[in-house]
Symmetry: C2
Subunit: 188 residues, 2 copies
DNA sequence: CGTGCTGTATTTCGATTAGGAATACTTCTA
DNA sequence: TAGAAGTATTCCTAATCGAAATACAGCACG
């Protein structure tokens, strides 16, 4: 049992996208990530994706070829190798369980409530709640899309999780607004 | 109305920590962040904090002096300036509402369920659930600590939010485990 | 027919952020 | 009285983010 090479999480995410077996270009990968990963993990920049692909090819986890269309325009498409598939599989199974990373700017501002007016804080929270509701609906819609393809059972599962997650965000926001009411009442 | 200088979020977070009015060293700041901000925003590295402090001093949002103790050992403590206080205040009130950033490695692995054994996925989820439970308890404990100081009303509010957030994570994990059961049942 | 918009496809750059390791001194504890 | 734990700061590198630059294809609209 050799050790897994110490690739950053981003590499595993890209390799994970390729693990479904399709040949994809950097641009395709970006679209797939935005369709599915962005809800719970990542909305990568192009520069990251293209960089990762080069690295994956260098370590032998992916191969690429230039696909030519009728017109002059070509694109480079990447496919996972057996080595790459073995490696992500091992990563998924063996990597230690890491805590999720959360950077919640809205809560940072609520934490600085002493600098804000209560009205403005409310506004910020309302806006965040609306965002969470929108994300929940989108995740739900994408989950329904995933339900149509048998291979996407796990992506579907996680998209359902995401829909609930954003719904929970919304509920949490509502409860904070209620706490805020209480705080204001206490101050009278 | 001039524009706010375009500082990175990290700067505002550090300035926010200083906005409670105390003189703090980089080391102190790190401890405060770990006590409170880490639940919903950030567990900064020392290098980041010390770097930010230098920047804040350069733009005039903080001042520093070397505090000498009885022994030879000294430390540099930072205080927010009026300019700095005005700036964070404006930032808290005026900055656009940004979506939170979430990088959920556990869900990324669930998303790659086709590479895992159901047992291992379960284990990973159980471990994550235990982590969420632990974080919820810690946030609750810190919220109780904050409740004792009148100035910490908003930090307390956000710590309560955090306790609920991690509790929601736990519940979401339970529901995913249930979905997984269903998926397994369907496959029979 | 041309002009501009949207979508595909990739690269480049700089700034930000993460994380650990290194250093060094103090205080507590066994 | 050595060693562990806590305080205090710096350095370095890799990873990440985000925007812009480039370029070509296809389509719509006048």
């Amino acid at each position: 049992m050799t050790d897994l090479p110490n690739l950053p999480p981003t590499s595993w995410a890209v390799l994970g996208l390729l693990s479904f077996g399709e040949e994809l270009s950097g641009y395709d990968l970006k679209k797939w990530a935005d369709w599915s990963l962005k809800f719970f993990y990542w909305s990568p920049s192009f520069s990251q994706i293209y960089g990762e692909l080069k690295r994956l090819e260098k370590v032998g986890y992916a191969t690429s070829r230039v696909e030519l269309t009728e017109s002059t325009r070509g694109k480079r498409v990447y496919a996972i190798t057996q080595d790459g598939l073995d490696a992500v599989t091992r990563w998924a199974r063996e990597a230690p369980v890491e805590p999720p990373v959360l950077k919640h700017g809205v809560m940072l501002r609520a934490w600085l409530g002493h600098l804000m007016t209560p009205e403005r804080l409310r506004e910020v929270l309302e806006e965040h709640g609306a965002y969470a509701a929108k994300m929940s609906r989108r995740a739900e819609a994408d989950a329904e899309g995933a339900a149509e393809v048998a291979e996407w059972a796990y992506p579907e599962l996680v998209l359902r999780w995401s829909a609930r997650y954003y719904e929970a965000e919304r509920e949490l926001t509502r409860r904070m607004l209620a706490d805020l009411d209480e705080l204001a009442a206490r101050e009278d």
